[in-house]
């Protein structure tokens, strides 16, 4: 499952345009003040945070596609 957190003001119309452009079906939440991103220590986008079934963070960052695929494989295999 993918949750996209959108950072920035006046987000809703921008998000909708982005979603249509890329055909995103996933849940998109808005972090317009950036407070949540700041709380996690995120300083740049895009940044990915992978969470396991116990709510524990397993991996962060993963900007490159091959890194992300490898991390998702690890997450789904339970490694």
């Amino acid at each position: 499952m993918l949750i996209s957190v959108w950072e920035g003001t006046e987000a809703r119309p921008e998000v909708e345009r982005f979603r249509e452009l890329w055909g995103i079906d996933a849940t998109i939440l808005l972090d317009e003040s950036g407070d949540y991103a700041r709380q996690l220590g995120i300083r740049g986008v895009p940044t990915n945070v992978l969470v396991d079934a116990d709510g524990v963070v397993r991996d962060v960052g993963l900007v490159r596609l091959d890194e992300l695929h490898a991390a998702v494989d690890r997450l789904t295999s339970g490694a």
Binding site: S4, E7, I28, R38, L40, L50, V51, G55
Partner: protein, 351 residues
């Protein structure tokens, strides 16, 4: 690293709140208010009481069983437990136990509830599903707080007046030993992978570290003034000790016992738990009549910009809870909705 926290809320709950339990699925805390004879139900998102349930006389401790959706209070002056349905918030039953029940703990794997009966000098063991009493084990005067070590198949019952710990085999319910600890022993936590237990000795003002294999006190740790409550952090790296005498919570390192932080809370703190969902500390302040919700900040105050290390330090830790609006519906979506699922949070922006 020094601990920095912020007070999220101090929720008025009733008179002399003591024991506290968390219901992750419903996003609630349940607080036993001993002088109100009530169970306060606190919504943790809104930080507000949503209900008061009348239970028995002087409820001191409380536990919550997720599987049955039952809340149990130890009603000290009623010599009984109240069983409350978490969905309807109505009392289902009163179950007699020993004299002056004051400490509860659950074994959700074996489906048992353990209750220390202070004036009865016993520990009751009940079937969590049928509520049948399986055993009444002799302990000592002031039997109260109980903790379990499933690895060693042990229950530890702390005896306040006797200043001792009774060890009980949880397969046979037989006493297998006792040790002396400090005066006023009243709270206990176990770290099974280290083979250690920590016991608060309120009158001695210390925390005893016990080696569970040799069954000896190996160290006496110091906390604040009049320590009375204890909980082990979810990563088993910290012991949180509430200090009734000075309105603080000491944060002790499990590894070396040093105090790595002290958090100011309300008056007369006692019961303490860590919300496993978001890592926040919930402290029942008996003197203030509040449930205090405390959040630990990463690397400094909210005014400081977090460093890149903060993100890396998230790995292996629980994701901080979120509540953010859905871009389509505007509805607040909480991290609880994705409990027990694997997912990716992708942060992106329009620029």
């Amino acid at each position: 690293m020094p601990i920095t926290t912020r007070k999220v809320a101090a929720v008025p709950v009733g008179l002399d709140p003591e024991g506290t339990a968390v219901d992750i699925r419903r996003g609630r805390a349940y607080v036993a208010c001993s002088r109100s004879d009530t169970l306060a139900v606190v919504d943790l998102e809104t930080a507000a009481v949503v209900a008061h349930v009348a239970v028995g006389a002087e409820p001191i401790d409380v536990v919550f069983d997720e599987r049955t959706g039952r809340i149990f209070t130890a009603d000290a002056h009623a010599d009984a437990l109240s069983v409350v349905d978490a969905e309807t918030l109505t009392v289902e039953a009163h179950v007699p136990v020993g004299a002056y029940p004051s400490g509860l703990t659950l074994d959700t794997d074996e489906r048992r509830l353990y209750c220390g009966n202070s004036m009865g000098s016993t520990m009751s063991v009940l079937d969590l599903d049928t509520l049948e009493t399986l055993a009444v084990v002799d302990a000592e005067l002031g039997a109260g707080a109980v903790a379990l070590d499933a690895t060693r198949r042990l229950a530890l019952c702390v005896n306040f007046i006797a200043a001792s710990v009774t060890f009980v085999d949880i397969d046979t319910f037989e006493q297998t030993g006792r040790i002396e600890v400090g005066r006023g022993a009243c709270a206990v936590g176990v770290v099974p992978e280290r083979g250690e237990a920590f016991v608060v000795n309120s009158l001695a003002g210390t925390v005893a570290r016990i080696d569970l294999d040799s069954r000896t006190v190996v160290e006496e740790l110091t906390a604040g003034s009049a320590p009375v409550g204890l909980t082990i952090g979810p990563r088993h790296d910290r012991v949180y000790v509430t200090n009734r005498g000075d309105g603080t919570v000491s944060v002790l390192s499990v590894v070396d016992g040093t105090e790595c932080g002290r958090i100011t809370v309300g008056e007369g703190p006692g019961g303490v738990v860590v919300n496993p969902d978001d890592g926040r500390l919930l402290v029942a302040n008996a003197g203030s009549g509040t449930l205090e919700i405390v959040e630990e900040l990463q690397g400094g105050s909210t005014a400081d910009a977090p460093t890149e290390d903060v993100l890396a330090e998230l790995v292996g830790r629980r994701l901080p809870a979120f509540s953010l609006p859905d871009h389509r519906t505007g509805e607040q979506r909480r991290s609880l909705e994705w409990a027990e699922r694997r997912y990716i949070l992708n942060f992106f922006a329009s620029w």
